[in-house]
Symmetry: C2
Subunit: 260 residues, 2 copies
């Protein structure tokens, strides 16, 4: 059983990848929809929320083989604390995305787009330079992307295209040939991002992390997935059904996350 | 001493009005910046947060004469619960704004723009129809306005203008001659809203509520205001300094709101 959590809906893009790679994978998902977004909050608040999310998942399910932190903000801010606090394999999205980007870039110049907290943390940049010391990194915070996605400005919306142009024109002009989508919400506006970054290879951080967690999925395909949220299960269910399509089987349950 | 609270920064527009009407007013402010926005959350979550906000204010300060709920979402969703739970005068922004709009409209047609939760509550509409039974009301949720303001897309930003056009063209076409800004963030993009609604009288719900609370302010002008937030006091201080100008005197303190 894999445990997956995110600040809200974005982590479902990683669930989609997981279901595509391992169709029978059993997992439990928590989306902190009562406190989304994480990416504009301070480091101490993000750590507090991440610890609560983990405690809830471990209380809800005893048979967890690994945890996927499907939230770029937590992955870049709280992994040390999580790994010190909990003795099981915990995967974030930073290391695998950095490795994929370092392998993909031909001109040794990678861009990272993510929430304000992720960019402020410098986590992607550190990891890229650890793997490839001479690599050039261009980082750009895109704080309006998550609200745009959460409020349905997707599917080629001209407002989202305009925000993409605002945030991404410096990335385009930097000359980076590879760009990490460092937040799991961003694949939901991948086409709009691609339009603003023609010719640039996009690395989906959530999808890369899912590849690393596949070994922990095997042999457990007979349990239905469970979904938990901290607010508005109906809205979450609707979104999940749209994103995951007919594969979606189940209801989202409400959690009082502040108790954990 | 007045207690004022909001989901985040928006309530400071009401503070600005209060300081303009009663320059020496003493007050305590709480902004729930760790859980903003409220307007996309469910009713039960909004009520839980509002109760915690009130409990914190009453614990922080004994000498509170009245409370201003400077949050359109709480004002439209949780006033009954707050008034049942706490025995002191509590003012929301709905009643006074509805009264001002009912007085201002010449064609008996008022529009309300606010967060999704406020519009869903129907509170402004009910109050307008209670005052003026034959009044026509056009309501429009504008869920991206708060993230735009919180992320600095102000000062005539073309993206904000485009979002205004998207949300407000149906309001303009409805023929309403008066529009309530039902969220205290909205005065921060008042010019952009006015441009999309030419000839329409705008009613600032926070400013109208402040007028009602003035009687509770008198004779207490010797205490410095205090500001509390649930995340990132530095960002709050910077914003408050920009908004309140040289009048700003003091620091924002961090609160663990989930304890209340």
């Amino acid at each position: 059983m894999i445990a997956i959590f995110d600040s809200g809906l974005g982590g479902l893009t990683a669930v989609r990848e997981l279901r595509s790679l391992v169709p029978g994978a059993s997992y439990i998902y928590f989306g902190d929809t009562g406190r989304v977004p994480y990416g504009t909050r301070s480091r101490s608040t993000i750590i507090k929320y991440a610890l609560q999310d983990m405690r809830f998942l471990l209380a809800a399910e005893r048979d967890i083989s690994a945890v996927l932190v499907a939230c770029g903000t937590v992955s870049s801010t709280a992994m040390d604390v999580l790994r010190e606090s909990f003795r099981l394999p915990i995967f974030g999205v930073v290391e695998t995305a950095a490795a994929a980007a370092a392998a993909a870039t031909k001109n040794n110049h990678v861009a990272v787009i993510a929430t304000a907290a992720t960019i402020r943390s410098g986590a992607y940049e550190r990891e890229l330079k650890r793997i490839k010391p001479g690599i050039k990194v261009t980082a750009k915070a895109c704080p309006l992307f998550v609200p745009l996605v959460e409020n349905g400005f997707t599917g080629g919306d001209p407002i989202t295209k305009m925000v993409c142009e605002r945030y991404l024109s410096p990335v385009r002009e930097s000359g980076a040939d590879t760009c990490i989508l460092g937040c799991t919400h961003y694949p939901l506006i991948r086409d709009e991002i691609a339009e603003a970054l023609p010719g640039v290879t996009l690395i989906d951080a959530g999808a890369e992390a899912v590849k690393a967690i596949v070994p922990y999925c095997q042999g457990k395909d007979d349990v239905s997935p469970r979904y938990f949220v901290s607010d508005d299960p109906e809205a979450f269910e609707q979104f999940a059904k749209r994103l995951l399509g007919g594969d979606w089987v189940g209801r989202a349950e409400l959690v009082d996350i502040e108790k954990y």
